[in-house]
Symmetry: C2
Subunit: 167 residues, 2 copies
């Protein structure tokens, strides 16, 4: 591979695609292993990350989908016994989606598509390399979120807690 700036743009795009692709394909596999589809798994992950209970509204915001979609997804995880709906006492219009023991079990089977494979590899890297990769990723994320496009509304460190990780 040559080193002209032009080629670097192409090469970085290709690498980005490989990352996207690997993640997408792996997500299918993992979700299948846990008896859940990727979208349903995401629901459980978010509920767990929010302390085991959250509202459909919050799920919709965080996932970037409509409430109607969340209703359908919650129906399915509820049907599989991995969560239950409970009416809120504070505001009786609200429903809390509460993860069950079965749900937590499923999450442990398939903790996270990205985490499972990425964390293992990342933590083997040399210190300087980890630092460099982190800086690059943050740069890219900033480049992509910026430009007036309102992505990633609620994605904070809360979503991925150290305690969730294996190892």
């Amino acid at each position: 591979m040559t080193d002209q700036p032009h080629d670097r743009t192409d090469a970085s795009l290709i690498a980005l695609r490989r990352i996207l692709r690997a993640t997408e394909l792996y997500a299918r596999d993992l979700a299948q292993a846990a008896g859940l589809t990727p979208a349903q798994l995401r629901v459980l992950q978010i509920v767990a990350a929010r302390g085991g209970s959250t509202t459909p509204k919050a799920l919709a915001t965080q996932m970037g989908v409509s409430q109607a979609t969340v209703t359908a997804l919650v129906d399915k995880v509820v049907a599989r016994g991995m969560a239950v709906r409970e009416r809120s006492d504070q505001d009786r219009r609200q429903t809390n989606v509460v993860i069950t023991e079965a749900g937590r079990g499923a999450l442990q089977e398939a903790p996270d598509a990205l985490q499972q494979r990425y964390v293992r590899a990342f933590e083997k890297l040399a210190d300087w390399e980890q630092a460099q990769i982190l800086a690059s990723l943050e740069r890219i994320a900033a480049m992509l979120d910026a430009e007036g496009f309102d992505a990633s509304p609620v994605l904070t460190t809360g979503e991925i807690k150290a305690g969730d990780r294996p190892g």
Copy 2:
């Protein structure tokens, strides 16, 4: 943000998620602008990148989906007049999916979800920073494709040609 290795793992995962999310949301918008869905747009992009004509088999391999899925997607881009099917002369079992002028027009409206926003920003970066980001991305891509998971079968530089890029 502190600098402990642990935090770096979390932070890099968060950045990776932001990238994935921004890409996914932006893909919808762009595809909508071109009058195509993201998957249909991908079909056209691959056909164009392969010189304006390719087979369903090649599309399926490159996209990582079944041939039946490709048939359905090709049906849709054909229905929109953005491609046509032509029987191959060499092997009459094969069909060539050939992009039309309308298809090329649509591609120019929405060249690429990743490209559109990424290339602009990337090419503004300092030389050393481009090099660092590229190295990091390639490292991550290698980390993710590896581990015995057979992702990204045919994703080579052929997919994204310099000529496709704006600027």
